[in-house]
């Protein structure tokens, strides 16, 4: 707890520093790393939106790519058929994501644990099937290419196109992340953690838990779709891969690796996964294997995610000073949200 209050004290300074770094990045980084950074921003939003469900509310969704893809296809279809300007298209993407959540919520939210996981997975597979087969509209497995990259008008001609889109992404993702921060620190956010901890106890305190989950699901859907819309612009393309459950699984890895139920954990997980993908794949095709090893080690040694590493080091140092045996991990493994989600899966199967 002490460590937490110290870090809370430095939080504003740290966030400001991070923001400055992100703002000057285009002047320092060459084009390629800058586009990787853009992708990191987009997937951070994706992981954070999944974290609302998986980390805060304890709902293990394996179908979050359904929202990412919905946002992507909203943007792609609007660009291709109507030439809708980007701000409006992104807004529609968000609305589409929320609408998908509101429609599917009553079905998937009847379940918990493994059943929730399977139902969300099925949802994304159904959408994948529609996109794949409805070739006339969605382009099938060819997807929709040639989505024009939007640019910030006031930066036109002043910075490169890559930097321009980077700034656009930074603004959109920045605002979205700020609102997520507000949501999870509101009474609603605390109630979501109550759901994760024990839904029934929370109901006993007078909270309409189903409605809370429904709203959380819709919010996560909206943010997920926004990330998907940005990604479609980023790639200039949207295809079935952006709706595939593999992407949902990758999002899950990002969240758990970084630290489910923590605010910055998903960002750290995203950075790690994408850096592994782009850096390690430069010298071996087997980057997924490396990711697997990193994931296993993290879950074993830092069950609450990499974001807890400083606390863990501090604990170990404090223990060494006392020359006592090493402490157990900050929490028994079965107490972390992600582990508990998995545990619930096992319990119910």
């Amino acid at each position: 707890m002490n460590a937490k209050s110290i870090s809370a004290q430095w939080r504003p300074a740290a966030i400001l520093g991070l923001l400055v770094l992100l703002l000057i990045a285009p002047f320092v980084l060459p084009t390629y790393p800058l586009s990787v950074l853009t992708e990191i921003l987009i997937f951070t939003l994706f992981a954070m939106s999944l974290n609302i469900l998986l980390g805060y509310a304890g709902l293990p969704s394996l179908g979050h790519s359904a929202f990412f893809g919905t946002g992507g296809y909203a943007v792609g279809l609007l660009a291709k058929y109507l030439g809708t300007p980007a701000p409006l298209a992104l807004l529609i993407a968000v609305v589409a994501g929320i609408a998908l959540a509101l429609i599917t919520g009553p079905f998937v939210l009847r379940t918990h644990g493994a059943y929730f996981l399977i139902l969300t997975l099925s949802l994304t597979q159904v959408l994948f099937g529609i996109v794949w087969l409805w070739r006339r509209v969605t382009g099938g497995d060819d997807g929709l290419p040639g989505i024009p990259t939007p640019k910030l008008p006031f930066l036109l001609g002043r910075v490169s196109d890559t930097a321009n889109f980077y700034y656009l992404t930074l603004i959109v993702v920045g605002i979205a992340i700020a609102t997520i921060a507000w949501v999870v620190r509101s009474p609603f956010g605390l109630a979501l953690v109550g759901i994760r901890e024990n839904e029934r106890y929370l109901e006993g305190l007078g909270y309409p838990t189903w409605t809370l989950k429904y709203v959380a699901y819709a919010l996560a859907g909206g943010y997920g779709a926004l990330a998907g819309g940005l990604f479609a612009y980023f790639k200039g393309f949207v295809g079935p891969g952006q709706i595939s459950w593999l992407l949902a699984g990758e999002g899950m890895v990002m969240v758990i690796l970084g630290g489910a139920g923590t605010f910055w954990g998903p960002a750290i997980g995203t950075i790690l996964v994408l850096l592994l993908r782009y850096e390690v794949s430069a010298f071996t095709q087997r980057w997924v294997m490396i990711l697997g090893i990193v994931f296993i080690l993290t879950v074993l040694l830092l069950p609450q995610g990499i974001v807890r590493l400083p606390n863990r080091i501090r604990e170990i140092r404090a223990q060494l000073r006392r020359e006592a045996p090493l402490p157990r991990p900050t929490a028994p493994a079965h107490h972390t949200p992600s582990e508990r989600a998995v545990e619930r899966v096992i319990e119910r199967s």
Binding site: P187, A191, G204, L205, G206, P208, L212, P337
Partner: protein
């Protein structure tokens, strides 16, 4: 006569073809302390869950302060002033003591969705939480995650959170279970200090707690009401003696008392 705090009218509960509760009718007056006792498996906890709305009644009606709540979900019953504690303290283990209190306080004040404002910036709610923590002697452990606290403390956190919501009808499910023998007298004192306008329904195995606290006692046996009366009447009742009490009095509680 005043509207009863709690009325059960012919309540039955059948789970999977098994009748857990059969035709239970009882009336609890406002301010009354009612104990429900009975051997294990008599249906006491099920009865509390039916009253609190965690289990729907198969037949019959549940009225709280004259209002028919039979069809209301558990969270809506909190609005009529009904709150329940659990055998295992109903606390959120990964949250700190303070957060546990805050969750309860926030429900009392905000709209259920409560998206507005940041919890840590809400001075009023933080002040109230501080008050509750002090009142319940929990200030020392206010920033400790509840899972690290001993059972007795967890129980206190649970009760403090419920009292923060000012219940009018409080259901206590074996609150003394898990307490050490030497903690029991202090716990009885605490129960006796509950505000007199609060109605309390207590399910408890510790006869020491029951007989020093209850105004009236209902005895459940095989899911039905076996007897209903003042503690003296219950103690004299031969059916109760035969079914339950003698054993219970001779058994674990004789030692505890």
């Amino acid at each position: 006569m005043a509207v009863p705090a709690l009325q059960l009218e012919h309540v039955s509960k059948v789970i999977g073809g098994l009748t857990i509760l059969e035709d239970i009718s009882l009336t609890v007056q406002p301010g009354e302390r009612r104990a429900i006792i009975g051997p294990n498996g008599a249906g006491k906890t099920t009865l509390l869950n039916v009253i609190a709305g965690f289990l729907p009644a198969t037949r019959g009606r549940v009225l709280v302060f004259g209002r028919d709540v039979t069809k209301l979900p558990a969270h809506r019953r909190v609005d009529v002033g009904l709150l329940k504690t659990n055998q295992q303290p109903a606390v959120f283990h990964e949250l700190t003591t303070r957060q546990n209190i805050l969750i309860a306080l926030l429900r009392g004040r905000h709209s259920p969705l409560g998206l507005g404002g940041l919890v840590e910036r809400d001075r009023e709610i933080q002040r109230l939480a501080e008050q509750v923590l002090e009142e319940w002697g929990l200030l020392d452990v206010s920033d400790v995650e509840v899972r690290h606290l001993p059972h007795g403390y967890q129980r206190r956190v649970e009760l403090a959170a419920r009292f923060a919501l000012r219940p009018k009808l409080l259901l206590l499910d074996e609150p003394a279970a898990g307490l050490a023998v030497d903690e029991i007298p202090a716990f009885i004192e605490r129960l006796k200090q509950l505000p007199r306008d609060m109605t309390v329904v207590l399910v408890e195995h510790s006869m020491r707690v029951v007989f020093s606290f209850a105004d009236r006692i209902t005895v459940l046996h095989h899911g039905a009401v076996l007897a209903d009366g003042t503690p003296d009447e219950i103690q004299q009742n031969e059916d109760v003696q035969a079914a339950y009490l003698a054993g219970a009095m001779r058994g674990r509680d004789a030692g505890a008392a």
